[in-house]
């Protein structure tokens, strides 16, 4: 014989199965398990039962209650999932995402940051010096003769007091050696100025990274290893790097470096990217005179130095055709490098 509770359970389960949405299911729950629901009512009824019946019915009531509760939860989860899926199905996921306005770092900054990042991995620290310099730091200390072509009013900007705008960041080599004895391992990013008429490849102001490494027994092999590493990090591992003997007053021997890479627009053409060389002993000698000591004894210390044109490297790396674009700061230009 079936107990009425069992009948209630079967009826509840049937109604739960039949409930088509969350609201109908809730109605079923209230009907059976609500405060005055028909199953809940048995809680009160228990009090009227005999001592013998009570545990049996109590056990049955618990079983029925948990069976119905479980069925309600299971069915409810299904119904909610279906409902949610229905609602989300209407969302047009092709709508554009919420825009976040971000700006752009100037491509020259990005170029400098790439280069600085590589040199820092190689153990170079940064150094700095002023843009307004004296002739000694810009020329004399760098073994540049008094009648050198660069030292005149046609090529170099002078101030009324006789100082000048540095024509290269090599001045920072001198500043670094003035302020500390060897060893020195620094790079100096900065602006330089030349009295050039502005055109697609010339600018009155441009940007360089200067490098200087002075230590015991620094050699051309060390210079070559350092700059080959740098250029391959910058332009890719497959980049061909070529050193060509050249002339700079403040290095001897001196070289220019060409690179060639299929990844660049220039393709199979060698393009010049760097000037470098071994610090000229005359630079050390002049430094000792200025310091009043023999800290830079050219017999004990040797070093390499190099200069990289950042505008030029950025033009090569980012395919920028005209140097004037850097100073124009057109947002259509800057935005391309965001």
């Amino acid at each position: 014989m079936t107990h009425p509770l069992q009948e209630l359970r079967d009826a509840a389960l049937a109604e739960i199965a039949a409930a088509g949405d969350v609201q109908a299911l809730e109605a079923v729950r209230v009907l059976y398990l609500g405060r005055s629901g028909s199953i809940s009512a048995w809680g009160e009824k228990m009090k009227t039962l005999s001592k013998e019946e009570r545990p049996v019915v109590g056990k049955l009531l618990n079983e029925v209650r948990s069976a119905v509760t479980a069925a309600l939860e299971e069915s409810g989860e299904k119904l909610r999932a279906t409902q949610e899926a229905g609602a989300l199905a209407e969302i047009d996921i092709s709508l554009p995402g919420t825009p976040h306005e971000i700006g752009a770092l100037h491509p020259l900054t990005q170029m400098l940051d790439r280069a600085i990042g590589i040199f820092r991995r190689m153990g170079f620290a940064l150094a700095a010096g002023p843009d307004v310099e004296d002739e000694w730091h810009c020329f004399d200390a760098l073994n540049t003769a008094p009648d050198h072509p660069a030292r005149n009013e046609q090529d170099t900007f002078y101030l009324p007091d006789g100082r000048l705008l540095r024509t290269h960041t090599s001045t920072v080599q001198i500043r670094a050696m003035e302020s500390a004895p060897p060893p020195i391992r620094v790079i100096a990013p900065g602006a330089a100025f030349r009295r050039d008429e502005v055109d697609a490849t010339h600018s009155a102001q441009f940007h360089q990274i200067e490098g200087l490494y002075v230590d015991e027994r620094v050699s051309v092999a060390d210079l070559k290893g350092a700059l080959e590493f740098f250029l391959r990090e910058l332009f890719g591992a497959e980049t061909a790097v070529r050193f060509r003997p050249h002339y700079f007053p403040f290095t001897e021997p001196s070289f220019e470096i060409d690179v060639k890479s299929k990844a660049l627009k220039s393709g199979e053409k060698w393009i010049e990217v760097c000037g470098c060389g071994m610090v000229h002993p005359a630079v050390f000698e002049e430094m000792n005179r200025a310091r009043g000591d023999a800290a830079y004894d050219p017999e004990k210390w040797t070093g390499f130095a190099f200069g990289l044109g950042m505008d030029r490297l950025a033009m090569i790396l980012f395919d920028i055709p005209d140097i004037r674009l850097f100073a124009q700061n057109d947002l259509r230009f800057l935005g391309q490098f965001a």
Binding site: P96, P99, E101, I102, G103, L105, H106, L108, G123, A125, L126, A128, V132, D147, P149, A150, N152, E153, D155, F157, L159, P160, T167, H168, S170, P183, R195, D196, E197, A200, H202, A204, Q205, Y213, S219, V220, A221, K224, G225, R242, F243, P245, H246, Y247, E252, F255, S266, I271, G275, M278, P281, T302, F306, G309, I323, A327, N329, D330, L331, G335
Partner: protein
């Protein structure tokens, strides 16, 4: 200086205003030391590799960079020398003429021609029907505007022998009618060679051939030139021995000046020099051949002997370019008894030059002080082929031989009779002193191992003489043409040039380096930049030089001006970043930008202290929130509070703002960090902004960046956050328009309520038209947060605290709390 041209594909251009002078080198290339060399000419002195590219690589990798290779020559069939016998206007075309020419075939040919630069009797190249010219131009007999043309008269460009296409190529009168043009212009290859300033010995064909011979281990065919007989004589006197240590003069009599023979003209023209007359051409030829610039005077126009002296103050000199130069005592003058006849080593005089009627010449070959020549040529803006060589230093060993070579050529070509002796004065510079090379030093500096025998072989190939040797070192004598070799390291460079840097393996030489103050500054500034970019600002980098227009205006009242600006756009060092950003705004507004948010981090130059300091500047103008968007907030304009928000959120620390007065601003504020004023901000006065942005409001800020940046000691430290819940209560109030948020905040804080942790303004509206508030009033709503770090607050405590604050606000005149 490290850098060459900025872009390798385009030629460098310097000295745009430079006077061209009588030069075969374009100014731009000469500034970089690019010269033209003829392979045919070089072959007279040394055997060359068959493959030009191989020669170019050899030289380039030895430091003599080949920048260009150009095939020349007129090797065309059916192109012959023809003489124009008649010329008449074309009946149907104004610009054309109808010529009759004799091409040696016995038949007169009729040619229609567009050029104007010939006259009847000239000899010109004729392309006969069947010829194929450069650019695959096929020549046929045809009718031009109805007139028969049996071929074409050619320009130098059409024959591929020069870039100059203006008119027909007028040939020498001696050219044989009917001769194939290839006999006049044999095939040749022209190299553009960059000669570094230390290598004056390479500024001639003989000199470059000597270098090639050394690099290829081939014999150099020496120039057969005897030293001439010399005598000291009163005819030449040097009064300025520092500026001119040595001078020689040779008199050659009874010459006949005329056009140069074709071979000579072809040599000069092959490297881009214009033929003038036989005497001038010979001096130029010898210069290009062996590097010594010469000058020929018309001896009959000289009065008395030659005196090499400094110019008088303001002494005037009429040069052969037809211009009068005013000289000073720094300039060297070659003078006769009456006047200056040449600016020594730079340019000859107008009235003593060789002309068609000259009968007797005086040939000068001298050594001038390089620095004096350099200064004079530059001061007078008179760069020339001669000054170019003198200022780099000519070979004292070649000076008299060059004079002898020219004398012989003048004898052969112009029929002159040289007098027996060359008159000389002064002393030739001594040969460079010898010095030693230590083989281990060479190996250490190069990071390679080079056998002493190989090092010796290389130095000997360059003409150095081994004076003595031990196992460790050798001593070397330096030839007169290598004055650039002055010390050991110069010899090491010669060795590595030939040994080949490709044979040196790059080494990984690292060293730990502590961070410097510049490193910390760089990192801090990059963080600042990246934060601004993340907030929608784009980075501008403007020039440190500002234009005349900017100077004297609001943000650049005082600036350090350049003594020698090149253009009005760059006349002074910027004392502020703002003018640069305003110019960038102007450009972008003109380009149609609707929203401009810019920053710049850079140096400014303060005239008062002569200081360079680093600053940050921001500029805002136009629409906020980017382009229209489907869920965008209502459109609004960028304003002062966007500027403040940016400054408050990029890690500058606590920043405060205080109103101030400034003519440049419609609304001006000081920016304070701590109690220090570090910059200014605000909305630009329309006088500053209107040109760039019209009626739109422009907001700018500029502040000094700190000098010192954090080290590891400045790292931030963790702070425990509050464990007990906080309680929020709101206050809504109506206040007079004039009562500021700052004042309300100060009033709230004046209660010094210990439980009050934060006050946020979350609503503000007001103004004339707002209902329920009334004119001149505004409504504000604040959320106040209460907490205690040691316990959970009770509702009563919070209410008591909140009430104290409400009471305080009620006491503000005109303030009314809303319930």
């Amino acid at each position: 200086m490290w850098e060459g041209p900025l872009c390798p594909d385009l030629p460098a251009r310097r000295n745009p205003s430079g006077h061209k002078g009588p030069s075969h080198i374009p100014i731009s290339q000469r500034e970089r030391g690019v010269l033209k060399f003829s392979l045919n000419w070089l072959r007279e002195f040394v055997e060359l590799p068959n493959d030009v590219a191989q020669l170019a690589d050899l030289l380039t990798l030895a430091g003599v960079e080949i920048e260009g290779i150009e095939a020349r020559g007129a090797n065309f069939a059916h192109v012959v020398v023809a003489q124009v016998t008649a010329s008449a206007p074309h009946p149907n075309a104004d610009r054309l003429s109808v010529c009759q020419v004799d091409d040696g075939s016995g038949q007169v040919r009729q040619i229609v021609c567009g050029a104007k630069n010939y006259k009847v009797g000239d000899k010109v190249p004729l392309a006969q029907p069947g010829a194929v010219l450069s650019g695959d131009l096929k020549i046929k007999a045809s009718k031009l505007r109805g007139v028969e043309s049996q071929g074409m008269l050619c320009s130098a460009k059409e024959l591929g022998i020069a870039e100059d296409a203006a008119g027909l190529l007028i040939l020498s009168p001696e050219a044989k009618i009917g001769a194939p043009i290839s006999e006049l212009f044999p095939n040749d290859t022209i190299l553009d060679v960059e000669i570094t300033p230390n290598r004056s010995d390479l500024l001639s064909h003989y000199g470059l051939a000597r270098e090639i011979a050394a690099l290829t281990q081939k014999p150099l065919r020496a120039l057969e030139m005897a030293e001439p007989r010399t005598a000291n004589g009163s005819a030449v006197q040097i009064s300025a021995p520092n500026e001119c240590p040595f001078y020689s003069a040779r008199r050659i009599e009874n010459i006949t000046v005329g056009p140069s023979p074709d071979w000579l003209r072809a040599r000069l023209e092959s490297v881009g020099l214009r033929a003038i007359n036989s005497i001038v051409d010979i001096t130029n030829f010898v210069m290009l051949e062996i590097g010594q610039p010469l000058h020929a005077f018309d001896a009959d126009k000289l009065r008395g002997g030659i005196n090499v002296r400094l110019a008088q103050p303001n002494e005037k000199f009429l040069a052969l370019d037809g211009r009068t130069y005013q000289l000073d005592p720094k300039n060297l003058l070659i003078a006769d008894a009456a006047r200056g006849i040449a600016i020594g080593g730079v340019m000859g005089g107008e009235d003593t030059g060789v002309t068609a009627t000259t009968r007797n010449v005086l040939l000068e070959s001298a050594y001038f002080s390089p620095s004096n020549i350099r200064r004079t040529a530059r001061e007078l803006n008179l760069p020339s082929d001669a000054s170019y060589r003198f200022e780099r230093g000519v070979d004292p060993g070649m000076l008299l031989r060059a004079s002898e070579r020219a004398t012989q050529l003048i004898h052969e070509i112009a029929g002159g009779e040289p007098v027996r002796e060359t008159i000389i004065a002064g002393t030739l510079p001594a040969a460079p002193a010898g010095f030693s090379l230590r083989y281990t030093r060479c190996d250490e500096l190069l990071g390679a191992s080079i056998a002493p025998a190989e090092a010796d072989r290389i130095l000997e190939s360059f003409g150095l003489q081994k004076l003595g040797a031990t196992d460790e070192q050798s001593t070397w004598g330096i030839p007169s043409y290598r004055s650039d070799l002055r010390r050991e390291v110069d010899l090491i460079e010669e060795i590595v040039r030939v040994f080949g840097i490709h044979r040196i393996t790059g080494a990984d030489r690292s060293r730990f380096t502590p961070a410097s103050a510049a490193d910390r500054r760089y990192d801090a500034e990059m963080t600042l930049r990246e934060r601004l970019v993340a907030r929608g600002f784009s980075e501008a980098r403007t020039s440190a030089l500002v234009g005349r227009q900017t100077l004297g205006s609001g943000f650049a009242k005082e600036a350090i001006e350049l003594r020698n600006p090149l253009s009005e756009d760059h006349v002074a060092l910027r004392p502020s970043l703002i003018p640069g950003l305003i110019a960038v705004l102007e450009r972008n507004v003109r380009a149609g930008a609707k929203s401009v948010q810019l920053f710049e981090v850079g140096r400014v130059f303060l005239p008062a202290k002569g200081e360079e300091i680093r600053r940050l500047a921001l500029l805002l103008c136009g629409a906020a929130g980017g382009p229209a968007h489907w869920r965008g907030a209502p459109a609004r304009e960028l304003d002062l509070f966007d500027l403040k928000g940016a400054l408050e959120s990029i890690g500058l620390g606590e920043v405060a703002f205080r109103r101030c007065e400034s003519a440049e601003f419609a609304l001006a504020m000081e920016i304070l960090t701590g109690d220090q004023r570090c910059g200014g901000a605000g909305q630009l006065a329309s006088a500053q902004a209107a040109k760039a942005a019209g009626a739109a409001a422009v907001f700018v800020a500029e502040l000094d960046l700190p000098n010192e940046f954090e080290t590891v000691d400045g790292a931030r430290k963790f702070r425990e956050w509050q464990r007990f819940p906080s309680v929020s209560r709101d206050i809504a109030l109506i206040a007079p328009q004039a009562l500021t948020h700052g004042e309300i905040l100060a009033a709230i804080q004046s209660v010094r309520e210990p439980l009050l942790a934060a006050v946020e303004l979350f609503d503000l509206f007001g103004g004339q038209s707002v209902e329920n508030i009334g004119a001149g009033r505004k409504s504000l709503a604040y959320s106040l947060t209460y907490l205690d770090k040691n316990r959970t607050l009770t509702s009563n405590e919070v209410s008591a605290a909140h009430d104290r604050i409400r009471e305080r606000l009620k006491s503000e005149p005109g303030v009314e709390l809303r319930e």
